[in-house]
Symmetry: none
Subunit: 291 residues, 2 copies
DNA sequence: AAGAGCCTGTAACAAAAATTTCAGAATTAA
DNA sequence: TTAATTCTGAAATTTTTGTTACAGGCTCTT
């Protein structure tokens, strides 16, 4: 696993990063980004991938304490060998050694595994059906979230609002929810986010919405919110991580993927809206470009 | 994962074994025994390790359907790459669901890869230092986000508010930001979220905060917000996905991991606060338990 | 603005890898 | 045993990779 000085290549790249020059940093970043595979290619390929010249590669290898490029490459192979022979070659093992066992990498493991499991359970047709449903601009969309999931709902709303008209965000104060129900028409869609601990108010809202022939799309956890029984479509995400809290990262992931799908469906309209939005930004100078 | 004929190198070695000559079998066995690492060495090393001549290696590679030794080696690299970098794509092959090529799985791949790359670049010490900083209850914490990242800031705030006292969420309307700056004291912390397109207002806020000796923790993308120069600590997340938008899932992931870390630091206080919160919930019946 | 000092890529060069040629060894068939 | 056939590696050759020298360019002083 270790090179000449008992350090892995990625450790050295990071350790010496400050002493590297512009082109060398560019190279170091490329190597770390595609660690360790890029380093196993020929020096020519490495240089081209990183957008630097081959001498830069040699110079950096020497700066890191290797005799030359082939020596660095041999070290990489040795690391790879060591890792490959360990039971499960999980991707995080490529991360810096020091991270091993660190909360951050355990968290990453959990989230990656959550994504995998969640994906395994999602029905592709549900996803496609929901994307199509939400692309139908004759239906209004109402978005609601609970105490923790409110920010997911907010994120989803922010994007949907750009993509299409007729999207409402339901305020977090549940006292005012009846007012929103008043505006729901048959055929409308209620997108609800509810994970444990499930909120009674969301169940009530779902009941009321359903009574008005509103189609409900629910983002929930693997156990399922009580509102699930009123939902026409459900996404069950895995949310457990090494923390006292659950992780909503996977829910966000599905929501973002859904946004991407809807966007594709409604691309003509969406593009026009996005352009218009850009113009408005420019005109109001609310947001300035950074060049 | 696949070579010219859609088969892995081992599969071909096994499949063609019968048609191989004595020296070639010797070589094939050596390659399989040390699969796949031996194949990544130079042709000379491979030949020596297997106890055959280099021409034998070339001949066998051609017999297996490769153009030459480098082509076989490139195939090996690609296999290895696929094995280590895409647990999900790999999983898809077994899953009945046949999500392959579906937007959802491409999205999942992108996010997983983003997590991996981001993790590769995060310095463990930065993470630990920030966790400790935010655990210091003598410092007030101010949280702010931009147009898109507002919901990340919101999520972070929601959790932090439970964990410790002295946390403020800065409203999204930037007109009122000076009011918030007024309340910032030296030693306070500003947690800012800013991804492209970077917002000028956040840069201004960071300037003002820094002038008051506030420590800035910045969540940004790989390119880095202009506010980065004022930040004491920065987290650079990868945010690119197959969509017109960027994905903030990785940012959320880091934020959640950070929350878990802070929670561990301040566990005594936090547990008390969480219990108290439970009681308040029960008493107000604002949120009911679902059993 | 001039000059020192450092970066960086081009280009020439050296080294090694990969391929091909070919002669002799091993094997097989008669 | 001998001749035909196939296999194999030494050696020559070609191709590619890796290294070095060097000059233009950039930045930072003065």
């Amino acid at each position: 696993m270790d090179g000449p000085n008992g350090k892995t290549v990625v450790e050295r790249l990071r350790g010496a990063f400050d002493t590297l020059t512009r082109a060398e940093r560019q190279l170091a970043n490329a190597l770390v980004d595609n660690y360790p595979m890029l380093g196993l290619e020929s020096i020519t390929t490495v240089a081209e991938s990183a957008g630097v010249s081959t001498p830069t590669v040699v110079r950096m290898a020497k700066k890191l304490g290797f005799g030359g490029f082939p020596e660095m490459q041999a070290t990489l192979r040795a690391e790879l060998q060591a890792t490959i022979s360990s039971p499960i070659a999980k991707h995080d093992q490529w991360a810096e050694n020091a991270l091993e066992g660190h909360l951050l990498s355990r968290f990453a493991d959990a989230v990656t595994e959550n994504i995998r499991q969640t994906l395994n359970q999602i029905d592709k047709r549900t996803f496609d059906a929901v994307a199509e449903l939400l692309s139908d601009q004759s239906r209004n969309v109402h978005v609601v979230g609970g105490r923790i999931t409110r920010s997911m709902a907010d994120h989803f709303f922010t994007h949907m609002q750009v993509i299409r008209p007729g999207v409402t965000q339901i305020a977090s104060n549940s006292n005012s929810w009846p007012h929103y129900v008043l505006n729901m028409r048959p055929g409308d869609i209620l997108v609800a986010f509810d994970i444990r601990r499930y909120e009674h108010d969301i169940l009530r809202l779902a009941e009321m919405a359903r009574a008005r022939d509103v189609t409900i799309v629910l983002f929930t956890d693997q156990w399922g919110s009580p509102a699930a029984r009123h939902a026409a479509h459900r996404f069950h995400a895995r949310i457990e991580v090494p923390s006292a809290w659950d992780s909503t990262a996977v829910i966000l992931f599905i929501a973002e993927a859904l946004i991407a799908a809807i966007e594709t469906h409604t691309w003509e309209t969406t593009r026009a809206r996005m352009n218009e939005l850009e113009e408005l930004f420019d005109r109001t100078r609310l947001f300035r470009k950074f060049v």
